[in-house]
């Protein structure tokens, strides 16, 4: 899929603050020129802890440029909610994909890679590779 447009990245966390902060961190570390579109979908619409399919759908629509959307998620219901939305078929943009990656490290890798103009497969691979980096 080569549209000349960047892949979008959606960060789904149980916490609004976590999603927003990780988005800021990833954009900050991607640095330099223009970064790929990133949207945070954290917590419930009323600001509580949890996952909202409405916020996720809105975030995905916001970052969709036609080149695909990589969704990175934190725990339990974030995983299940995105999977069930993908199974539904019409709730996320075409080319939306749940990416299996650690949330913070994967987000940085995904945003840096997407900002460099890579396609969705490359963004997914970069985010997933973050699992292979052992810290001790």
């Amino acid at each position: 899929m080569s549209t000349g447009q960047p892949v979008g990245v959606v960060l789904v966390s149980h916490s609004r603050a976590v999603a927003k902060a990780v988005a800021e961190l990833a954009i900050g570390l991607a640095g330099g020129g223009t970064t790929a579109p990133v949207a945070a979908a954290g917590g419930t619409p009323d600001g509580g802890l949890g996952t909202s399919s409405e916020l996720i759908a809105a975030a995905a629509a916001e970052v969709d440029r036609g080149a695909g959307v990589a969704l990175l998620v934190d725990l339990g219901s974030a995983v299940l909610t995105v999977k069930s939305m993908l199974a539904e078929g019409d709730e996320l943009p075409e080319g939306a994909r749940l990416v299996d990656a650690p949330f913070v490290e994967g987000a940085v890798a995904a945003v840096v890679t997407a900002s460099a103009g890579a396609d969705l497969d490359a963004v997914e691979a970069a985010a997933s590779e973050a699992y292979d980096y052992r810290k001790v």
Binding site: G50, G76, S84
Partner: protein, 199 residues
């Protein structure tokens, strides 16, 4: 034959059971989860009832699909996509029929339960809603009452189990001795089905 009114009454009975038992579900969830199962399901089923009243679906399948979608978008926790998938897949399996037989519902519910197991990656014995739902589906061939009894026994049988899924799994041995909240709410859903059928 089960018509759209039957399915609306089932979901209404399920919503009433969730209202009545929300405190108990949250108590069970505070022992091994994050103490929001009752309030989350309450929010979800209130949205289901509101949606059914605002836009009454015309078929059994459409009724369950609408309910499932409401649960996914309003519950906020893992029970939203899980129960949402259960109802939506069951509804899709029923298709466009205006009326369905009990065996047809049993078959559709079996497809719904299989979809939940796949979504959550859970199997019988993992201390989840599957422990109530699988025996219920197996007993549906006999009667709705038998399914309700099987679901309840399945929920009670989660007490000595070690949780392998969800937040409870982080507790390891400490999850033993507590009834699983998801299996308990699943038993409520099946009990509401039996009550709606007059059994």
């Amino acid at each position: 034959m089960l018509d759209v009114d039957f399915f609306r009454r089932w979901l209404t009975a399920a919503a009433a059971a969730v209202e009545r038992e929300a405190g108990r579900l949250t108590d069970l969830d505070s022992a091994i989860g994050d103490a929001d199962h009752g309030s989350n399901l309450q929010r979800g089923f209130r949205a289901v009832i509101a949606a059914l009243e605002a836009e009454p679906p015309e078929t059994p399948g459409a009724t369950l699909i609408l309910a499932g979608r409401q649960l996914i978008s309003t519950v906020g926790g893992a029970s939203g996509p899980l129960y949402g998938t259960l109802l939506r897949r069951t509804g899709k399996a029923l298709g466009d029929s205006a009326e369905v037989t009990a065996p047809r519902l049993a078959e559709a519910l079996g497809a719904g339960v299989a979809a939940v197991a796949q979504l959550g990656g859970a199997k019988a014995g993992d201390k989840t809603m599957i422990d109530a739902l699988e025996p219920a589906v197996a007993a549906l061939g006999t009667s709705f009452a038998a399914a309700a009894t099987a679901a309840d026994e399945g929920a009670v049988a989660t007490v000595p189990l070690l949780a392998r899924k969800g937040r409870a799994s982080y507790l390891g041995e400490r999850s033993i001795g507590h009834q699983d909240p998801g299996a308990t709410s699943s038993a409520l859903l099946i009990a509401a089905l039996a009550a709606t059928a007059g059994e």
